[in-house]
Amino acid sequence: METQQQDLSKAQPVELPDNIQVGPVVAPGHTLATVTDRIANAVLRRKIGLGWLFGLFVAFGVMQLLVVSAGWLFVKGVGIWGINIPIGWGFAIVNFVWWIGIGHAGTLISAILLLLNQSWRNSINRFAEAMTLFAVMCAGMFPVLHTGRPWLAYWLFPYPNTMSIWPQFRSPLEWDVWAVSTYFTISLVFWYVGLIPDLASLRDQSKKKYQQVIYGMASLGWRGSAYHWARYEKASLLLAGLSTPLVVSVHTIVSFDFAVGIVPGWHTTIFPPYFVAGAIYSGFAMVLTLMIPVRKFYNMEDFVTMRHLNNMAKLTLTTGMVVAYGYMMEAFYGWYSSNTYEFFMIKNRQLGPYAPAYWTLIFCNIITPQFLWSKRIRTNPLILWLISLVVNCGMWLERFVIVVTSLHRDFLPSSWQMYYPTIWDIFTYVGTLGFFMTAIFLFVRVLPMISIFEIRMLLPSPMRIKEPAKEPAR
């Protein structure tokens, strides 16, 4: 009886009524063999296409902007950026928060949806986790560059040193060091553990010696033993359980960077939940931005079906509504606090010099996702893709508005300043986009972009599928 229950929870996708559900999680007609071959062949047999080469070339070229602007930063220091007093946090922190937020959807998909038994996430978790890792790499660059002396960034970690100084453990910025480095490490470990059985599949499917050696080493000699699977499943579940509070903690701590300060517009208790929702919102938008073209170009429509797009669109809408609530509460709090500075801050945001940024963000993040109420739009990949781009822009603007409008006019009018990014700010930011896209392009060619063994588990009643006899039994 007990095994039967486990079997049900494991093998069968949660069935929803027909009017809610849009198509299957895996297109019908697939077997264990076809699933393995289709996903593995995208890595092992597919020829390097001109489109992929062109894309990689462009992304790699754009990444050079990062190399050049970081190099110039090392020579000249942070003075090449647009930051000043009082806006000491400019693009660097805006981009940091934007990138790390994008990463959060990957962990939500891989960990939280696993614990909630949402088996549809099996098709997208690998890709989303890869996106998480690359986004966190991009995010991590900015605070390090922003220190001005990046070669001394290791001072952020506690280690015995001849100067007898230690990090300030009561500073949210130090908490951030721990949160982001733990987040990156655990995401990497979770991702790699998920890859082990698939790397073994690649090892066994590849015909070329060098592939067999590389994938064989990377798979650690995985052979699918029942004893191994038992420990494996347990470790995966534990990692999911640990990642779930971790992902919430990371953006909470990022929001503490702001909320612990006394700056009007930052010093609010709504920041942690509002930041976490915003992170997941922007992350889902980025998953859609990447997944919609990739499923098309790599013919993965059988595994990333309309059901997935529909579900992700719904999650985007939901988190978008939470974010909208956050914006409303910020405005309400500014008025209800009866605090001169808070009220001025919200008026300045809406009517001051950065008002266009504020109203564009409201349009991008509140108005645009409302289209997702329509099922026809949720199942139209092109429109969904365009909406996801708008949301990405909106979430970047949100961080810009939070960082810049709060700082540029704080308590004393004599210290007010305007903030304008320089060309180096823009190059650094665009350069990380190039880095991110380069990493994504390489990832889809060398690793299975969809988790093969987890798709096998999604096959309808995987226990009973008899392969059609293609080769005569010897």
């Binding site: 095994t3 486990q6 079997d7 494991k10 264990l32 063999a33 393995t36 506690p158 230690w166 990090p167 453990f169 009561r170 130090e174 908490w175 721990w178 949160a179 480095s181 733990t182 490490t185 655990i186 470990v189 790699y192 553990v193 059985p197 073994a200 599949s201 066994d204 499917q205 080493m217 650690l220 000699g221 995985w222 052979r223 699918g224 033993s225 029942a226 004893y227 191994h228 699977w229 038992a230 420990r231 494996y232 499943e233 347990k234 470790a235 534990l238 990692l239 640990l242 990642s243 971790l246 903690s249 701590i253 503490f256 063994f453 588990m457 995987p462 226990m463 009973r464 392969e467 039994a473």
Partner: protein
């Protein structure tokens, strides 16, 4: 074809479906075999009961790792702020629990997560690039679409012909000896 070799790892039967494999494992257990392993492209929880897999060490090590991480991070903060480098900022106490919570939490998750992954890998005896089962050509399908049962030579009841006959009687797709 059965190749004669002085010593073998075991005898392996190949099945096309998980159900056939589970039935085969049940039959082998009922026939008195204990040293056996199943190789599958998907995790099958039914096998835990049949193969007596009750290993909770991954969870235990993860718990220990998490507690060590928590104690380590919390202890480090308190040691630094009270002994190594006490800073008096506005008269705040040197030992402060609330400001230690975020880093203690991160330390817990960091060490627990690493222990979960590393203990899983090491308890599984990995990395192990070579294993006798890889000598069976068709075993490459264990990571694709086939389900294998291997009765190992270490089993006290192991007898080369008897085991081969027994596995044949389960109507597998293929039976092969696993060279050592």
């Amino acid at each position: 074809m059965i190749i004669e070799k002085p010593e073998i790892h075991g005898i392996m039967a190949e099945f096309s479906t998980a159900e056939e494999l589970i039935e085969a494992v049940r039959a082998a257990r009922d026939a008195g075999y204990h040293k056996m392993d199943a190789y599958t492209p998907v995790p099958l929880e039914e096998l835990h009961e049949l193969l007596h897999i009750h290993d909770n060490r991954v969870s235990l090590f993860t718990l220990i790792g998490g507690l060590c991480g928590a104690a380590g991070a919390f202890g480090l903060i308190q040691w630094v702020s009270s002994l190594a480098e006490p800073l008096n900022i506005g008269g705040r106490p040197p030992i402060s629990v609330p400001t230690s919570i975020p880093i203690t939490f991160e330390g817990t998750v960091l060490i627990a997560g690493l222990t979960a992954a590393i203990s899983m890998i090491l308890l599984n005896g990995l990395p192990m690039p070579y294993h006798p089962v890889f000598n069976v050509d068709r075993f490459a399908n264990a990571s694709r679409n086939k389900f294998f049962l291997c009765i190992e030579a270490e089993d006290p009841h192991f007898d080369r012909t008897k085991v081969a006959d027994f596995l044949q009687s389960l109507e597998p797709d293929e039976v092969a000896e696993v060279a050592n």
